[in-house]
């Protein structure tokens, strides 16, 4: 997979006879080439990496804990001491935004991982086995897709109850339905290839054809879907948290920071209304930009909707 990805990234093949470069160098070169060809995508990548760092090292980066009340610092505007100001409960906004990245990242990655596994199982099997199975599965996918995502997620949450795990499950169901369509399409394309026919001719079983021949060839599609999907999932998580169906307080989620009791104080402390939204927009923007650029580089066939 590594060599295939690098080649698709536009890396020149190592000249015959020359010693192959170490993997780290090759990856760095590929990244540099990507940044030169897709500057906007590289900006997206930087935003994504920054967000991941914030999520992982929140304790080290944030000057205060997310629920720490600071004496005498209620609703203070942004300053040197509190970069993004403080909220109505005297908590440091910057620290809360940093910890908030953790919610977006954990919920985002868990959701998209679950969604992609389900979507791949549905999409690949639907394309590979075809016939009645395909017809039936696709009608179910159709049905899921005709629900507005917030409507169905809220309805599922009404049954499951609020909370982080239920949030992940209900968003993943919708994301899986959407992505399975694209994966099915990509698999159908790969199945036209001669190597699949050849594999069948030499008597490979279904499992071997799917795992060894189909999956590696739809992997690029899956990576792109996951990247763009992460943006959409973070957006969905923030909307649900905003509506009160997300991670329970006082743990900061960017969406929840914009809702609830804070709303009444926003007229006096507008920075409370600004920064969490900036964080959401930047994160989603980063994943979208990176995903768009990855799509152009990895899989030009998906460019249709541009």
């Amino acid at each position: 997979m590594t060599s295939a990805t690098l080649e698709l990234n536009g890396a020149a093949p190592t000249p015959a006879g020359a010693r192959p470069r170490p993997a780290a160098v090759r990856w760095a070169l590929a990244a540099a080439r990507f940044a030169r060809r897709k500057p906007l995508g590289a900006i997206g990548g930087v935003i994504v990496v920054a967000m991941l760092v914030m999520a992982v090292f929140a304790e080290q980066i944030a000057p205060y804990r997310f629920d720490e009340t600071i004496r005498g610092a209620r609703m203070k505007p942004p300053s040197a001491a509190h970069w993004l100001g403080t909220d109505n409960l005297s908590r440091d906004m910057w620290s809360r935004v940093v910890y908030g990245a953790r919610v977006s990242v954990t919920v985002g990655f868990a959701t998209i991982a679950l969604a992609i596994v389900v979507a791949t199982a549905i999409g690949v099997s639907s394309a590979y086995f075809g016939g009645v199975w395909d017809l039936a599965v696709q009608r179910v996918v159709d049905a899921w897709l005709s629900f507005p995502y917030l409507v169905i997620i809220l309805s599922v949450m009404a049954v499951l109850g609020p909370g982080r795990l239920n949030l992940i499950i209900s968003v993943a169901i919708i994301a899986a339905a959407t992505n399975s369509r694209v994966i099915r399409g990509a698999t159908l394309g790969v199945m036209q290839s001669q190597f699949v026919e050849a594999a069948r001719a030499i008597g490979c079983g279904h499992a071997r054809i799917i795992v060894r021949h189909l999956l590696p060839n739809v992997l690029a599609t899956i990576i792109i879907l996951a990247t763009i999907g992460l943006g959409a999932v973070i957006l969905a998580e923030s909307a649900l948290s905003f509506l009160g169906f997300g991670v329970p307080p006082p743990y900061p989620s960017w969406g929840a920071m914009l809702s609830g009791s804070g709303r009444t104080y926003m007229l006096r402390a507008p920075w409370m209304a600004v920064w969490p939204g900036v964080a959401i927009s930047l994160a989603v923007f980063g994943f979208n930009m990176l995903g768009d650029a990855l799509r152009d580089v990895l899989d030009p066939r998906l460019r249709g909707g541009r």
Binding site: L150, L154, V159, G231, S238, F285, G305
Partner: protein
Amino acid sequence: MLRRYLVRRLLVAVPSLLIATAIVFTLPRLIPGDAVQLMLAETSYAKDIDELRAKLGLDRPFHVQYVEWIGRAARGDLGESLWTRRPVVQELGQRLPVTAELALYATLIALLIAVPVGVLAAARQDSLSDYVVRSLAILGLSVPGFWLATLLIVLPAIWWGWRPVTGFVEFRADPLGHVVQILLPAVILGVASAAALMRLTRGMLLEVLRQDYVRTAWAKGLAERAVVIKHGLRNAVIPVITLLGTQLPQILGGTVVIETIFGLPGVSRFLFDAINQRDYPVIQGVNLLVVSTVVLVNLAVDALYAVLDPRIRY
């Protein structure tokens, strides 16, 4: 030929709609049993748990319940709200115009922004304006509607002391005030869809502008306007119409948040309240209404698509 296509399209839509109704129907039945007891305590809707089960129709076999429910729904009976005790259909009838109006304005605004901007970006491909427009489009897809709405309420209030009207203004009472009240939420809803539509318009137009007949049009010495609009856009706009169909669930989903923030008494706000109050007949009713609308609109869009473009067949 066209008729055969439409019939086949209809045959695909029916099972999808049936499965969707099954999902709508099944969801409230997945609630753990003690939730019924909780409901009993919360709403005092029925005397005892058996009566409540009977009212919700939970005491009979699953498939019997489903068929009966579909049959009643087809006759326009969606049960009554556990909260207001009024028929769900009646409640929906009151709220539907608000949401429909909001969705319609949002769609129009999305089109009004997306098509001209998409044409501009395609006609000036890789120019500065193209880059700016494309980046703005991705930004438009990234900014959460509820944040935009919050800023548009908070910032004008701080800067100019301006606040949106609280309380819903009926069209009959004050037509201008009503439109002004709905316009701001509609713009916020339209922005995200505009971004998606703009990207598609640009992409499709770029493809069309590379066709031979467009080169011929240029060679004939036609003005740029005539080439891009008459020869290009006309052929590029068809997929845009389809995407408009797929944008409907997006816009309707967005209304949940927007109606809640702006206090508009629409269907989505009704759903949100129903979810908080565990008002299952209402949740079912709203879901059924929304899903049927989406399936029917997509059916209509596909039919329109086939009429507009004779090349399109299943």
